[in-house]
Structures are given as structure tokens and as C-alpha cells.
């Protein structure tokens, strides 16, 4: 399945929905969406990953980029990551830098 990244911004929350396979050849597209969200000065960034099938090291690097680009004050939520995606995130310790959620919880994210 081809990679796709969609950005929506509402109420100061940036939501990027990823699908397909995130590798080095398309990581730039993801990075562009992060830069767009950063330019809008969102207070929270939500990454919806339930349709993301695979993430390479380039994808993880882009998550690191997101953390650095958004700054310390912006919480990043990683929502719905499949085991294939969440395991490398956890094994490399990146889950300590974001908030991992199984499903989108508006009570937490939009509070």
C-alpha cells in the first residue's frame, strides 16, 4: 500500500494520519507535514498510525525530528500503532519521548 500522510488542524491540535509503508523514500512527505503543523504553532501533535503497516529507521528518525521541531512544550501523541510499528518505537526508547495510546481519546487529547 502506498504511503500517505494527511494533516488536519483544529482547535490548536495538529493531527497527522499516516498509512502505508513509511521508509526513506517517503519520509520527506511526513517531514513536510510536521513542518506545516509546526508553522501553525499547534499545542499538541497527534500521529494516527493505525493504518501504518511498516516504519523504517527513516520513519523513526522523522518522529525524532517531530519531537525536536515541535519543541519541549508540545505534547506528541502516537495513536493506534500496530505491533510492527510500536515495537521498534519501544525498543529504541522513543516511547519515553511521546505519549503512546491505543485509541484516540478525546478526553485526554482535547482536554
Amino acid at each position: 500500500m502506498a504511503f500517505d500522510a494527511k494533516l488536519e488542524i483544529a482547535n490548536g491540535i495538529g493531527k497527522i494520519t499516516l498509512s502505508g509503508e513509511l521508509d526513506a523514500s517517503v519520509a520527506g512527505d511526513f517531514r513536510t507535514k510536521i513542518e506545516e503543523a509546526a508553522a501553525q504553532k499547534v499545542s499538541k501533535l497527534v500521529l494516527i498510525l493505525d493504518a501504518l503497516e511498516y516504519m523504517s529507521s527513516a520513519g523513526l528518525r522523522t518522529l525524532v525530528f517531530a519531537k525536536q521541531k515541535m519543541g519541549q512544550g508540545v505534547k506528541i501523541y502516537v495513536v493506534g500503532a500496530t505491533e510492527a510499528v510500536s515495537e521498534p518505537i519501544k525498543q529504541t526508547g522513543f516511547h519515553y519521548s511521546v505519549i503512546m495510546m491505543d485509541t484516540y481519546d478525546p478526553g485526554v487529547i482535547e482536554a
Partner: protein, 707 residues
């Protein structure tokens, strides 16, 4: 828009690739604006070509020769623009003379790995057969230094406070009993899952067997008798000094081994546990004249290896070649490497395998003032790293007690291991030697202090602690070398039967002996180290050289944690005992005198009766000593009195402890002759000893605390 820097413009082109002269330093491949800077050293090559692959592809997509103007001195440096650094693999071809008798082994047909490669592909998943027809096996890649360390930094725990646990990354969690997820077994991530176990054990430092990229298939073979595949399992044969082993990472197949390893360091630090790496700079995986071309041999053989006048490899490592560590170029590489691991990976210290080789001159002669060792001792970036030497080599140089230390290096104290083994085994006439050993070996380290002594009974080389008390002789048949490998001087004793037995008396004695070793180790001045699994009675079935086994001979069987509950309980508590008593962890030697006028000297020795040690009795197997807790940390900290009695006779013996100052009483903290859990008591729960007399069972240790 700001002007673009002019040094980011290409100045040359080659087959569609934009280039410019590179920066000679740093060596290796570095990310620069718009491109990648490649820099490689060779003193005798006549030309150099950069070979670029797309990741995992068999054939290169371009080979770019370094233009003449790209070479400065002996360094070829070039920036290539427009490369996707995450998708590129790179190597070099070097042309130059083929003249082995003069040390030159250039071969332009070989693709060579960058010695400074920080990420290496080719063996991403442990034990997966490589494509043997690949023209480039160990593939250099690039890595970003963007790990989120938050506030982590090396812990800088005072060395006298360390309690070291020597372990092998894969062995620790490879067994399914570890409970680690299948994908993370035997990996850095697997260790993270087990940090709570290490915390409960009480150790505050792990020393990892080699984690630099190595090839588990080096000298891999099948055991004729068992049909089992044998590997280069321990990894004492480095392929790349700057790269963590991909096969030790659950994420290695995604090339995230650097991140995974950094996360391990970060999580260990968060738990208060330091990490020391066992580093192997004495030789490389290229072997002797018959070995493969991986890197150094084809880049600059004469610089990187010690060669005989005839051009053959010196073999002080016992593995075929010897890295030329005191050549200035190699010296700088070692220094660059350790600085990189200290600064970028937050490593707390290094243990140098066969470190005496690092003190040899290029012609093999031992140096009185080895520049590499001195440089490491005084390096500003390594200033707070622990530096630990295995102070011998396979060429006959044995420097325990005499390693060029520059008031900085510690040593694996092999004499401690041998002396305590003999004493606990029951050999007579050792009490004088043991008195030195438990003080941190002042007879060897007079000017260096007890922190020069890494005290150990067992390590990866040799028997496990359970095997030390279960076998008289090595049983290395599974290694496929006709039982000729491994040490013969083990100073072991099987307690009456060779190998496993159902005899309850023998098994009880073995467990008592293990506790004796653990107790003596933990009350000795110096730095204690013990081997992974000793706390649960891990056995290697009498094999004292399991370098090649990817199976239960090396793996930690976590079912043992339940089965060996009394041993684990003892270890946890005796480690806690050491941690609770600063008088056991002094930076400077105890003096044997009452130099502060506190009424009792800092350390005093005794026999079965107070003040009467058996120094002159050649048959003596008993020794006791007392520490005055008011002398902890040189008198800066108050601690309890501690009295340790060791009876290595086979029969029970009465001991009388010295009297305590008025108002104090002796309490029994440890009695290895007692059944668990009365063998050891937590601090504050120790039962009071009526009077000062105590009957020590045969082959047992008693520790009293006075307060």
C-alpha cells in the same frame, strides 16, 4: 534568504555526481550540508576509490575515484552531494603494492569497510546465514546522532562503590524462560526488560562482553559429534570498533541498533546502573595471512598490524594478528573510538581485553612507558571513565600488579581469583596471602590503592561458580577441540563427585562453598565482580571455555531463579551487606594502625583467638579480621564494626571475636553453615551473639557486625 555557504557548492563532477574536495577530519563518513564527507587514511595506497551501494543491493551503483586534489597528505577526503544517507552503503577500493614480505597487501579487487563506520550492515539478524557470495560482507553505513538523551549522562559512580556484574548480551535473555518477547530475546531491548532483576540483585554496574560489531560466523563450524553449529559467540573478534552489533538489537533489521543500544544505556542509568564495555583492541577479525579482507589489511596493512621483519603477523593475541596499538595512527583510532563511545553513548567505562598488548611497541617489545596507555589515562573526554585492564596477553606478558597504570588504570586481579579459590578449596598455608587479597592487594598496588584491584572469583573465561565447586577438571568436548582448549589451572574442587549429583551432602557443601566465595568477595577491599548467573548456580556442565556455544551452556536459564532461591537470596543480601557498609569500600588502603586515636586500628587480623593470626603456621586454614567502622572512608563516615571469620578446615572450629567497645554487641549477619534463610540476615534483623564465641562449621564463613 541568507546566502548559501560557498563551501557547500560542488566543484567537481563524476558520472553525474556532484563532488568537492572533502575535509580530512574527522575520519569516517560525516553528514555535511547537502552531502556526505568521506575521509579515509592510507599511507601507502597509490589510489583510492569510493564504492557506493544502495542498501542491500549486491552491486554498487557508482564507484568514484578520489581526484588527485582530494588527497591531503595520506588522507583521501571527498564530499559527495545529493546522496540519501539513510539508503547508502559505502566502502573503498585501495590500489597499491602487493608485497607481503614488506608488509603491503593492497588488492584493488576487494571492497573495504571504513574502520570508522558507525553503523554496519551485513549481519543484521543474529545467526541468519549471510550470502557468502556477497562481494562486500560488512557494509559501512551512516547514522544520525539525534537520540533523545534528555538529562542522561554517565553516572560517575565512585569506583570504590561499584559492584560489577559481568554479562553477555545475548545469553542474558535468549532463553524463552526469560519471559522477554520473542523478537527481543537476546538483545539490548531484552536487557532493558530485565533491569528490575538487576536492581533486586543490587549490582550497580554491568560489564558487557563485546558489543562492537563482530561476525558470529567467523570460524563457524559444525561439531562432528553433536551436529550443532558452533559460533564466534562471545564476540572477541572485532569487525568494526565504532558500531554496536546489529545482531544484538531487536531493531537491527531496521538499522536502529544505535538507538536501541543508547536506550539500554539510558535505562540502566535511570536505574543507577553503570555500563562498562569489554573492548577488544588487541586484534581484529581479519586473522592471519589466510584471513579475509574486511578493512585494515587492505587499507594499510603495515600501519594497522604488528608484522614480523618477514611481513608475517605477530600473534600476541592468540588469534592470528595483533593490532599495532602504539603506532600513532592506530593510537588515534583507539582514542577516537573510546571518545566516541564515552561522549555519544554515555559509556561509563571500558575493560580492555588482553590489555598488555596495548603496551607493546610495533616490533612487539613491551614498552616501559606505552604512549597509548598514558594517553588514555590522561584523556580529557575519558577523564571520568573507568579504565580496566586484563593485564596479560597471549604472548606471555603477565602484568598483574605491574601494568603501566598512570595512577588511573584498574586491573582484573587474577591473583585474587587464584588465591581465594585455593583458600576456599582448602589448601593450607595461604592465610598471609589471603590477608593481602582481602585488603585489596596492597602488596601489589601499594601506590595505587585498593581500587586498582577488580576482585573476582569467576569471569567469562573459566568455570562458573557452580562449576568451580562441581568439577575438578574441564570438560570442553562440546567445543570440538578434543578438550585441548581452555585453562587447566582452575583451582577447582568438585566436593566429592565430578559433575551433577543427587547426593544431598555434596550439593549442600557446594552451595556452602558458593556462599563462602560470595561472602569473601563482598567483604574484600577493591571492586567486586561476579559472573552472570553465579547468583542462581548457573552451570556450563564443566565447560570452562564456552566461547562458541549459542545454547544453554551460555544462556541464563531463568527457571533457575526459582530453583536456586536460597543462592539468589544469599547473593542479594550479601551484595546489600556490602552496599550498606562503607567500611568495605575504601578508596585508600587500610593501615593496620589506629592513626586517628579511635581506640582500635582500622583493620586487625586474628586467628581462632583474638589478635593471634596464624601467619607462621603452614597448615593454617583459618583467618579472621576485624574492621573498625569508625575508619570508613578514612574516618569521614561512621559504620559498624565488622568481624569476618573464615574456617576452611573440613571440621568445625571455635572462634572468639575481639571484644567490642563498651555498650556494643556482636550480631550475626552471615553464617554460611546455616540453612537458608538463617545463613544471612538483612541489616537491622541480625540476631545478637551472646558473648564473643562462635562455632564455625567446617568450610564456612561467619560475618558479625558490632554496634
Amino acid at each position: 534568504m541568507p546566502d548559501q555557504r560557498i563551501d557547500t557548492y560542488p566543484t567537481h563532477q563524476y558520472q553525474g555526481f556532484d563532488l568537492r574536495p572533502g575535509r580530512p577530519l574527522p575520519f569516517g563518513a560525516s553528514l555535511v550540508p547537502g552531502g556526505i564527507n568521506f575521509s579515509i587514511y592510507s599511507s601507502a595506497a597509490t589510489s583510492c576509490t569510493l564504492v557506493l551501494f544502495h542498501k542491500h543491493e549486491r552491486e554498487p551503483f557508482i564507484e568514484i575515484p578520489f581526484f588527485d586534489e582530494f588527497r591531503i597528505g595520506d588522507v583521501y577526503a571527498m564530499t559527495v552531494f545529493g546522496l540519501n544517507w539513510e539508503e547508502v552503503e559505502y566502502g573503498y577500493r585501495m590500489d597499491g603494492p602487493w608485497d607481503p614480505s614488506n608488509g603491503y597487501r593492497f588488492d584493488q579487487t576487494r571492497i573495504l569497510m571504513d574502520p570508522y563506520a558507525r553503523l554496519i550492515g551485513g549481519r543484521e539478524v543474529w545467526g541468519t546465514d549471510p550470502d557468502w557470495s556477497d562481494i562486500y560482507h560488512h557494509r559501512a553505513r551512516l547514522v544520525a546522532d539525534d537520540f533523545d538523551w534528555e538529562h542522561d549522562k554517565p553516572l560517575e559512580t565512585p569506583i570504590e562503590d561499584l559492584i560489577v556484574y559481568e554479562m553477555h548480551v545475548r545469553s542474558f535473555t535468549a532463553h524463552e524462560s526469560s519471559g522477554v518477547s520473542k523478537r527481543a530475546r537476546g538483545t539490548f531491548a531484552g536487557i532493558v526488560d530485565k533491569i528490575p532483576y538487576l536492581k533486586d540483585l543490587g549490582v550497580n554496574c554491568v560489564e558487557l562482553l563485546p558489543v562492537y560489531e563482530f561476525d558470529e560466523f567467523e570460524n563457524s563450524r559444525v561439531n562432528d559429534q553433536t551436529g550443532e553449529r558452533l559460533y564466534n559467540y562471545w564476540g572477541y573478534s572485532t569487525v568494526g570498533f565504532f558500531a554496536p552489533k546489529a545482531g544484538y538489537a531487536a531493531t537491527g533489521k531496521f538499522n536502529m541498533q544505535v538507538d536501541e543500544f543508547k536506550n539500554l544505556v539510558k535505562q540502566l542509568h535511570a536505574a543507577g546502573i553503570e555500563i562498562i564495555l569489554d573492548v577488544v583492541f588487541n586484534h581484529t577479525a581479519e586473522g592471519n595471512e589466510q584471513g579475509p579482507y574486511i578493512s585494515f589489511r587492505g587499507l594499510d596493512n603495515k600501519t594497522y598490524y604488528m608484522l614480523t621483519p618477514e611481513g608475517y603477523y605477530f600473534n600476541f593475541s592468540g588469534t592470528g594478528n595483533t593490532l599495532n596499538c602504539n603506532h600513532p595512527i592506530v593510537r588515534n583510532m583507539v582514542l577516537d573510538c573510546l571518545r566516541y563511545w564515552a561522549a555519544e553513548f554515555h559509556i561509563d567505562g571500558f575493560r580492555f581485553d588482553l590489555a598488555s598488548i596495548l603496551g607493546r611497541a610495533p616490533n612487539g617489545a613491551p614498552l616501559s612507558n606505552p604512549p597509548l596507555l598514558e594517553q588514555l589515562a590522561h584523556d580529557p573526554i575519558l577523564a571520568h571513565c573507568k579504565l580496566i585492564a586484563e593485564a596479560w596477553d597471549a604472548g606471555g606478558l603477565y602484568q598483574v600488579g605491574s601494568f603501566p597504570a598512570y595512577n588511573r588504570w584498574a586491573e582484573w586481579n587474577g591473583k585474587y581469583r587464584d588465591g581465594i579459590r585455593k583458600f576456599v578449596k582448602g589448601e593450607p598455608g595461604l592465610v598471609g596471602e589471603v590477608a593481602q587479597l582481602i585488603q585489596g592487594s596492597p602488596n601489589m598496588y601499594a601506590s595505587r590503592g585498593p581500587t586498582a584491584s577488580i576482585n573476582f572469583i569467576t569471569a567469562h573465561d573459566g568455570f562458573t561458580l557452580m562449576d568451580l565447586v562441581s568439577y575438578n577438571d574441564k570438560h570442553n568436548w562440546a567445543n570440538g577441540e578434543n578438550n585441548n582448549d581452555g585453562a587447566n589451572d582452575n583451582n577447582s574442587w568438585n566436593c566429592g563427585w565430578e559433575g551433577e549429583t543427587e547426593d544431598p551432602g555434596i550439593n549442600a557443601l557446594r552451595r556452602r562453598q558458593i556462599k563462602n566465595f560470595a561472602a569473601i568477595l563482598m567483604v574484600s577491599q577493591g571492586i567486586p565482580m561476579f559472573l552472570m548467573g553465579d547468583e542462581v548456580g548457573r552451570t556450563q556442565q564443566g565447560n570452562n571455555n564456552t566461547y562458541c556455544h549459542d545454547n544453554l551452556l551460555n544462556w541464563f536459564d531463568w527457571a533457575q531463579v526459582e530453583k536456586a532461591g536460597d543462592l539468589l537470596h544469599f547473593f542479594q543480601n550479601v551484595v546489600a551487606f556490602r552496599s550498606a557498609h562503607p567500611i568495605l569500600r575504601n578508596r585508600f588502603f587500610l593501615s593496620g594502625s589506629d592513626y586517628l586515636g579511635l581506640g582500635v586500628p582500622d583493620i586487625t587480623f586474628h586467628g581462632t583467638q583474638p589478635w593471634q593470626p596464624n601467619w607462621s603456621d603452614g597448615s593454617a586454614r583459618t583467618l579472621a579480621f576485624m574492621l573498625n567502622g569508625d575508619y570508613a572512608r578514612g574516618g569521614a563516615v561512621r559504620d559498624d564494626f565488622i568481624y569476618v571469620a573464615m574456617n576452611m578446615y573440613w571440621d568445625a572450629v571455635h572462634f572468639t571475636a575481639p571484644p567490642l567497645p563498651a555498650g556494643m554487641r556482636w550480631h550475626v549477619a552471615v553464617n554460611t553453615a546455616m540453612p537458608s534463610p538463617q545463613d544471612i540476615w538483612a541489616k537491622g534483623a541480625e540476631p545478637v551473639l551472646d558473648g564473643g564465641e562462635i562455632l564455625l562449621g567446617g568450610r564456612s564463613v561467619v560475618i558479625l557486625v558490632g554496634r
